[in-house]
C-alpha cells in the first residue's frame, strides 16, 4: 500500500527532527567525553610530575 503525500511529508518531518536530535546528541556526548578525557589527563599529569 503506497503512502499519501501528507503521510510522506509527515514522515520526512519526523525524519528531519530525528536527524537534528542525533546531531545534537553527537555534540552532547562528544562534549561529555572531552570533559571526561580532559579531567583524566589533568590527573594523569600527576603520575609523571608528582
Amino acid at each position: 500500500m503506497s503512502s499519501t503525500p501528507a503521510q510522506e511529508q509527515s514522515e520526512a518531518h519526523v525524519s528531519r527532527s530525528a536527524e537534528a536530535a542525533a546531531i545534537g546528541l553527537y555534540v552532547v556526548v562528544s562534549a561529555g567525553l572531552a570533559y571526561g578525557v580532559w579531567q583524566t589527563l589533568v590527573k594523569v599529569t600527576a603520575l609523571f610530575t608528582g
Binding site: 530525528a18 536530535a21 542525533a22 552532547v28 571526561g36 583524566t40 590527573k43 594523569v44 600527576a46
Partner: protein, 476 residues
C-alpha cells in the same frame, strides 16, 4: 499510547544516514558506564551508614551480577522489542535505581540502596548494555567491529565523565560529601534519564532490505564468518558459545584483577608513588580501557576476530609475565605494560559481539550476547577474589610491596593461557545448529522447533502448533 516505542515505529527511511545511530548508543553506554565510577561514593557512603567498606562494596557487586543476569534473561526480549523500547526501559530502571538509592541514603536504609542501585539499576545496566549492539551490527554489516567498538567505548568512557562530575556535584551540594549524596544521586538519576531517553528517541533500525551503499552481502560462509543464523537457544548448546564464554571470562578476570587494585598496586610496586600520582595511574588505565574498545575492535574487522583474541590473550599473557618478573625495574615499563593489558581488557568486551555475529549470524546476536555476559559477572567475582585473597595471604606471611602481587600475576598468566587455548579451539558452527528460513520471524522472534537439536524438537512442536493457532486467531 506507548506504541512509538515499538520496533515497527523505529524503522528508518532508506536514505537515513547510519552515522546518526552511534550517538544514541553512546548516550546509553556513557550513562550506564557510571557504574565504573561507583568508588567515588564509597567513602561518603561508609560515613553516612557508619559501616565498613565491605557492605558498601556489595552495592557494586549486586549491580554487576544483575547486569549479567538481566542481560542473559532479558536478551531475547530486547531483541524482540527493538532498541527503542529496550533503551527506554533501561533509562527507567537506571534512573529509578538512583532515586530509590537516594531514598535509602536519606532514610538510612542500606537495603534500599541494595535494591535501588544494585538490583533495579543493575537490571538497567544489563538491558542498556545489550540494547544498541545488534542494531549497530545491522547498520554496519560491513564493519561490525567498528560499530560495537563505538557503542561499548561509551561504557568505558562513562566512568571518565561520571567520576569528575560526581566529585564536582558532591562538592557543590554540601561541605561534607556524605551530606551531598542524596541531591547528587537525584541529579544523576534525572540527568541519565534525559540522556538515555534522548538516545531512545534518536535510535532507528534499518529497513529489512537496507544495506550500505556499494556493499554486497557475502553469499556464502567464509571461514568462521557464517551467512546463516543460529537462534539464541541453539547457540547456548554449541561448543563455540562455551569456548567464547571461557575466552571472555579469562580476559575479564585478568583485566579486572589489575583494575580493581590499580591504585594500591602501583604504590606497593614503587614506594615513591604518591596517592595523587596513583590516581593519575587509575585515570590512565581508564583511558586505555576506553581507547582499546574502539581501536582493537576496529582492528578486528581487518585481521579477524580469532586473531584479535589471540593477541589479547597471548600478548596479554606475555605482558603479565613481564610485569611479574620485571615490573619493579621501571615505572614506565609497569605503566606501559598494564596500560596495554587494560586496553586488551576493553577490546575484549567490544570485539565479542562481532565475534558472535561471525559465528552465529546477526539475527539474534543481542540475545546471544546477553547470555554470554554471565561470563562478566563470574569474572567480576573471580578476578578481585584471586588478587585480594593472595595479597591478604602474603600480608599474613609478613610480605609487602610488589611481593603481594607476584603470585596473582603468575596465576593471571595461566588464566590467559587457558583463554588462548579456548580461542584456538573455536571453529565454525556446525550446520545442524543453523536456523531454517522459517525459524525466525521478521522481528527476530524465534519460532520453536527450528535450528535446535533433534531431542528438543518434539517438545517444541506441540507448543509451536498451539502458538500458530493463537497467532491466527489474534490476526483474525
Amino acid at each position: 499510547m506507548l506504541s512509538f516505542l515499538d520496533r515497527e515505529h523505529t524503522v528508518a527511511p532508506h536514505r537515513y544516514n547510519r552515522w546518526l545511530i552511534p550517538p544514541a548508543a553512546l548516550a546509553v553506554h556513557l550513562s550506564i558506564g557510571q557504574v565504573y565510577a561507583f568508588s567515588v561514593f564509597k567513602n561518603p557512603l561508609v560515613e553516612r551508614f557508619d559501616t565498613s567498606l565491605t557492605p558498601i562494596g556489595v552495592i557494586f557487586s549486586i549491580s554487576i551480577v544483575m547486569l549479567g543476569l538481566s542481560a542473559a534473561v532479558l536478551g531475547t526480549w530486547v531483541e524482540r522489542s527493538g532498541p527503542r523500547k529496550a533503551m527506554a526501559t533501561a533509562a527507567v530502571c537506571w534512573s529509578t535505581g538512583f532515586l530509590v538509592g537516594a531514598l535509602g541514603i536519606a532514610t538510612g536504609q542500606l537495603w534500599l540502596v541494595y535494591l535501588g542501585y544494585g538490583v533495579i539499576g543493575g537490571i538497567g545496566l544489563g538491558i542498556g548494555y545489550i540494547s544498541p549492539v545488534s542494531t549497530l551490527i545491522k547498520w554496519f554489516p560491513d564493519r561490525p567491529g567498528l560499530a560495537t567498538g563505538l557503542a561499548i567505548m561509551g561504557f568505558g568512557g562513562g566512568a571518565l565523565v561520571a567520576s569528575p562530575l560526581s566529585t564536582a556535584l558532591l562538592g557543590r551540594f554540601a561541605a561534607d560529601p556524605q551530606d551531598a549524596l542524596v541531591p547528587t544521586w537525584v541529579t544523576l538519576g534525572v540527568l541519565y534519564a534525559v540522556m538515555m531517553l534522548l538516545g531512545a528517541w534518536v535510535v532507528r533500525v534499518p529497513a529489512p532490505d537496507w544495506k550500505p551503499e556499494g556493499w554486497t552481502p557475502p553469499t556464502e560462509s567464509r571461514g568462521m564468518r557464517t551467512t546463516n543464523s543460529v537462534t539464541a537457544s541453539s547457540a547456548v548448546r554449541t561448543p563455540q558459545f562455551w569456548l567464547l564464554w571461557t575466552v571472555l571470562f579469562c580476559n575479564v578476570t585478568a583485566g579486572i584483577g589489575i583494575l580493581e587494585q590499580a591504585s594500591p598496586m602501583i604504590q606497593d610496586f614503587f614506594g615513591d608513588v604518591t596517592p595523587a600520582a596513583a590516581a593519575g595511574y587509575v585515570g590512565l588505565l581508564s583511558l586505555c580501557n576506553m581507547i582499546g574498545r574502539l581501536l582493537w575492535s576496529s582492528t578486528s574487522d581487518v585481521i579477524g576476530r580469532k586473531m584479535m583474541y589471540a593477541v589479547y590473550l597471548g600478548v596479554g599473557a606475555g605482558l603479565y609475565l613481564l610485569t611479574a618478573l620485571g615490573g619493579t625495574s621501571s615505572t614506565f615499563l609497569f605503566v606501559a605494560a598494564t596500560g596495554i593489558i587494560i586496553s586488551f581488557y576493553g577490546g575484549g568486551f567490544a570485539t565479542v559481539p562481532a565475534y558472535l555475529k561471525d559465528l552465529f549470524g546477526g539475527l539474534q546476536v543481542g540475545a546471544i550476547h546477553g547470555r554470554l555476559l554471565t561470563a562478566w559477572s563470574a569474572a567480576g567475582i573471580a578476578g578481585p577474589l584471586i588478587v585480594n585473597a593472595i595479597a591478604d595471604a602474603q600480608i599474613a606471611r609478613g610480605q609487602e610491596g610488589a611481593a603481594l602481587y607476584g603470585l596473582s600475576l603468575r596465576i593471571m598468566v595461566g588464566v590467559l593461557v587457558v583463554g588462548f587455548i579456548a580461542n584456538m579451539l573455536v571453529k565454525a558452527v556446525d550446520s545442524k545448529h543453523h536456523a531454517g528460513e522459517d525459524a525466525v520471524s521478521d522481528d527476530g522472534t524465534e519460532r520453536a522447533g527450528s535450528g535446535q537439536d533433534a531431542g528438543d524438537q518434539d517438545d517444541d512442536r506441540e507448543s509451536a502448533t498451539a502458538r500458530r493457532a493463537a497467532g491466527r486467531s489474534a490476526e483474525a
